[in-house]
Symmetry: C2
Subunit: 142 residues, 2 copies
């Protein structure tokens, strides 16, 4: 698969944060709106926090909040924060080496093609912001 549910979970959580920016949201409260396990939400929002997309504070009345305006948060950032692997990649564990020149050459060609496609996809995702998503799914922004 190209995109795991992590990406969807991240966007859902960001939508919750964007819907009400007055106070931080706990993983519990986000879970109540999405049905996703709080621990999972914490794990994914921690990744977004490391990339500076959300702010997190511990302790009483702590929680998560958007770090920037929704129209400045791009889908590509969310994707890269959450997914380690490339969107479009090829498993080339079999190097081939000198014994089998054909697989080495074919895999090399594929790697070039796929990294090219990868760039195309990321460019496309860079044109979509969290504000666009909110508009499309009709979530009122505060």
């Amino acid at each position: 698969m190209s995109a795991s549910t992590k990406l969807s979970t991240a966007v859902q959580a960001l939508c919750v944060l964007a819907a009400n920016r007055d106070c931080p949201h706990s993983s519990e409260s986000i879970s109540r709106e999405t049905g996703i396990h709080p621990s999972r939400i914490r794990g994914i929002l921690a990744m977004l926090s490391r990339e500076g997309l959300v702010l997190s504070t511990r302790g009483l009345s702590g929680g998560f909040a958007l770090a920037r305006e929704p129209h400045t948060i791009h889908l590509q950032e969310i994707y890269c924060a959450v997914e380690e692997r490339k969107a479009f990649h090829l498993d080339v564990t079999r190097a081939g080496g000198t014994k089998y020149p054909l697989p080495a050459r074919v895999n090399g060609w594929f790697l070039d093609l796929f990294s090219d496609i990868q760039i195309q996809i990321e460019e496309r995702m860079r044109t979509i912001t969290l504000a666009d998503v909110l508009r499309h799914i009709h979530v009122p922004q505060s």
Copy 2:
């Protein structure tokens, strides 16, 4: 992942078939040139055979051969013959239903976006033929 090694294996096998079109190639002989297990090659070439990309004959002096000219075989056909899953897809096992409207809406939006990207990728792969691959990896065509 987006593309398994099946796609690479399929292209490698097609390159072997294209390099010498005079006689059918057995899975054994293709294995000797690629290092891939004969059973795996048979499985993948059976998929290509079902889609009409290669011809297969059993029995003595049987084997596999290209069904069409290399410049009429497009990468997109190979891909679709070999991969069940979409190149760019999202696991949306969690339907959400009426209890959680947010995930349902976000996942629906993602499905639209991804099928759009999928179309882009397939269009790109439709512009690449087996003959192009052979040229790029310097395999002489007979």
